[in-house]
Amino acid sequence: MNQQRREFLRKAGFAALAGLGAAAGLNPLHALEKTDTSVFPRKPVEGKVRWGMLIDTRNCPEGCTKCSAACHFEHNVPDFSGTKNEVKWIWKSPYEKAFPTSGMQFKSDELEKLEVPTLCNHCAEPPCAKACPTEATFKRWDGIVSMDYHRCIGCRFCMAACPYGSRSFNWQDPRPGIEIFSASYPTRERGVVEKCNFCSERLVKGMLPACVEACPGKAITFGNLNDPASDIRALLAREETMQRKPELGTLPSVFYII
């Protein structure tokens, strides 16, 4: 696991930090631990990194929801029954709902029952960030479309703008919907929008996103799309991949192998 993390760090362009990889391993379950500032990069360079994700659905076990469980625990995502007040960051959707604009006639039996993990695409051209009137949601220096919960006014413009249904609003206080609190990420308040953050709180400590680590089929590859030597770029070069609704020009950073 440490070996894997060190590998990830090296590949991810934190070459200078690779030697400190072990020191970077902070226990996410304890929020109030001593901080080790040496693991953080200084001022980030804009555009040097663009985080991306490749989901190989061939290795995504049928009926498994471990990615979503790990993510939702890590980030204190509440669980409310029913779809109306639902909050979700990563979840499985039937193939034809995740890719409604792909060919639908005469699907193979495999596609007919395929479910794929869906999450925020961290678009390079995010319509949500454009629509936000306060820049509470914005594209970060590393391509992550981030949320500033302290600034969000809850107008839900981003939800209308997102063509992937990736955003959730806190229609009520989320805390009653959280069974066990994780100390690695704050909860949210009622009245703000939230979504997947590509585990930016883990990345900064040199860890992989929770869903990547939780996947028993190792179906998710995570890395720097701007680094031609990264694993994800190698896979993208080798395999035939898809993005959700590419015709909208949002340039998603999440890719799929079907």
């Binding site: 631990e33 500032t37 001022k43």
Partner: protein, 127 residues
């Protein structure tokens, strides 16, 4: 109060810009911004003088939040060269011996900060 926050935000922004320009020049010269190996922030004194923190910790936290969330600038360097992660947890960690550290003062001053609506308070974290 709001004016103060705005003021300090502007100052922080100006500083950031200055730092940004400085950094750019540096990276232009071909050096990569690298992490220092100063290790853990074992410290017995605060990031700012005690009196200043008493009156301005909310502004400090607000600036820290802005810097780390929005700019990715996560390290606070004190004038004497000590480094801290710009995080509420840095404060809570240092003051972890007294779980009531925040509450005592806030209760005395009868202020109700909204921090704990989202951040887990020291009372909620089991260690």
């Amino acid at each position: 109060m709001r004016k103060n926050i705005l003021m300090s935000a502007w100052i922080a922004l100006a500083l950031l810009l200055a730092v940004g320009i400085f950094m750019q020049q540096e990276s232009g010269a071909g050096t990569e911004p690298s992490a220092t190996a100063s290790g853990k922030s074992e410290s017995t004194s605060c990031v700012y003088p005690k009196e200043f923190m008493k009156s301005h910790h909310m502004q400090v936290l607000d600036e820290w939040r802005h810097d780390s969330v929005r700019e990715g600038d996560r390290i606070h360097v004190t004038p004497d060269g000590r480094e801290f992660e710009k995080s509420l947890n840095t404060c809570l960690d240092c003051h972890s011996r007294n779980k009531m550290f925040c509450f005592m003062c806030h209760q005395y001053a009868n202020v109700k900060p909204t921090c704990w609506n989202c951040h887990l308070s020291p009372m909620e974290v089991t260690k």
